[in-house]
Symmetry: C2
């Protein structure tokens, strides 16, 4: 494969080259890449803004993550934050710090991932910058989205007795990561070894190419449900429940046997001798939606595909509890991922 | 001085600690730090969005930049991009990547710089994240501002015969950098040496604590002048003129003896045996405003303090020319800073 040095382009030439295949799709984008700032029209909706910084060696490992997937995931995790407000992502900026290890072709692959994400979710790339870095790859993404007045969902609106709902399943992305880490060690020991990924496609995909739950936000709107609180599960269910309970001033009861877990995640956990419920509670990176709804919405929620009711909110003084399969109560603890610890 | 390890706080505890002294000042900020996304009301103005990524060792050197100044400058350069659209900065997000070298006290200093910038320019801190990095400090800032419909100024609106204007003076920030680099070498050779900064306070301040030209944008509005094109001078006058000419499809004539240069910059250039005009044309980091106005606005512009007319736009086919003191014409070349070269 040919390798073009990034220094062949200047900063402006490179940005032009990488962003020229990103047509503007949204009416609210008045001016995208190419000026001191982008110009947006948010006269009809509230503007939602979220940002994420991803550092090589801390947030991702290019030994087993294809760089195109990295681009896709980096974009999608930002979109997920906008959906978690019950909004729609519409624009994003991308800033890159790139060491000499990377070629123009690498960045083309990264941008192919950004483009696929933008196409799939209807988001415009509106700006950013690219500069040299001394070590590795740094990706900073800011996403702007639309929120309808009165329908934006915060973390602080949950009330005692509200139902706690989770989309999809939990722990799969974490088990996918464990699998990749295992195969990386095997490969480091014996470079002839072929990775053993048979029957593990689902957990790998959950780790390498997660999706944001645009479909769930659309389904809730269709049913006329506005959650009382919502966030996306990036750091693990326990950690996110703590945020919602703390900001809503409630406690919660979550039932172990209600936590949705995929077959492949269970199998992988057995292979690795890990407790799958612990992984589902603390694994993170599933980018599913955690939300609470009023009891009045029970009949609507219960018929919705891909949503599980895992418990209910309680008064604050009752604390955060996990009810085990035998009815025993365990206090929930956040052991979610924390790069600073 | 005491040193608190960052690991003492978790990510959320640290963000809370650092951001708790940032009260919300703007009506357009409905929800700041603390949810999946911030919520903004841009129903009355267009939203302007700009972003910058700063990497230690590439964009800044903590050997001679006090970390509080770094925070101030990192924020202000983003505000400058919003003013360059003839807008007003209102919100910003900050994402940090921080290695173990940095303590909580270091981050408090950095945030003190952010706070001073936010206070001076009326900007709200609305979000961001902080994570570990393997090496050094990474700062990613996104700024959102208000632009009035019909008064937003792009780079592409200049016409032949428009006057080319520059605020303040050029080259001082670059001469400040040269001074700091010289003293760094002296200090490396002899750690007993005291830096020699006498009579150099202005160029040092221009490098270490630049300001965005909020005052110029206000003065233009007061006079009823809407520039035909505008940008801020971050990479040097030559480079920025090329952007405006290329996007406006014009040429330009700039007069060497009209380029505003400070006394301290001239003295420093002489000391270092450098050509001050070359430095003023290509130095960058002055964060002054470069803008063009219609000839009709000549009478208004000429009375405004702190604005110099340095030339005029021409037809595209005439190219970009610098007219020397003897009347000789030299083609302008962009030698501005480019981290990728």
């Amino acid at each position: 494969m040919s390798r073009t040095e990034i220094s062949k382009y200047g900063e402006f030439g490179l940005i032009k080259h990488l962003t020229e295949n990103f047509p503007i799709k949204n009416e609210s984008t008045l001016k995208g890449v190419g000026d001191d700032a982008a110009v947006l029209d948010y006269s009809k909706a509230k503007a939602l803004v979220t940002t994420d910084l991803l550092l090589e060696g801390v947030h991702f490992d290019l030994i087993y993550v294809p760089i195109r997937h990295l681009g896709y995931k980096a974009a999608v995790v930002n979109f997920s934050d906008i959906y978690a407000m019950n909004g729609q992502p519409k624009q994003m900026t991308v800033s890159l710090g790139v060491s000499k290890r990377f070629s123009v072709e690498d960045l083309e692959e990264l941008y192919a991932g950004f483009k696929l994400a933008c196409d799939n979710y209807g988001v415009d790339l509106i700006g950013g910058d690219t500069s040299a870095s001394l070590t590795g790859l740094t990706i900073s993404i800011t996403c702007i989205g639309e929120g309808e007045e009165g329908k934006i969902v915060y973390r602080n609106g949950a009330k005692p007795n509200d139902l706690i709902c989770v989309s999809g399943d939990l722990g799969s992305a974490y088990m996918g990561l464990q699998l990749l880490e295992r195969e990386k060690i095997v490969f480091t020991t014996n470079s002839e070894a072929q990775p053993d990924f048979e029957g593990k496609d689902y957990i790998l995909q959950r780790q390498l190419k997660p999706e944001a739950r645009k479909d769930i936000v659309a389904a809730l709107a269709e049913k006329g449900i506005v959650p009382t609180a919502m966030m996306d599960i990036s750091d693990g269910l326990s950690s996110e429940l703590m945020h919602i309970c703390s900001q809503s001033n409630t406690g919660c009861r979550v039932y172990e046997d209600k936590i949705p877990i995929s077959y492949q995640a269970v199998v992988m956990a057995e292979e690795l001798n890990m407790n799958i419920v612990t992984c589902a509670l603390n694994g993170g990176e599933d980018y599913e939606l955690l939300f609470t709804v009023s009891m009045e919405d029970y009949d609507k929620i219960v018929t919705m595909e891909g949503i599980g009711i895992v418990g209910h909110m309680t008064k604050s003084e009752l604390g955060l509890n996990l009810v085990g399969r035998e009815g025993e109560e365990i206090q929930l603890q956040a052991q979610g991922w924390n790069s600073l610890k």
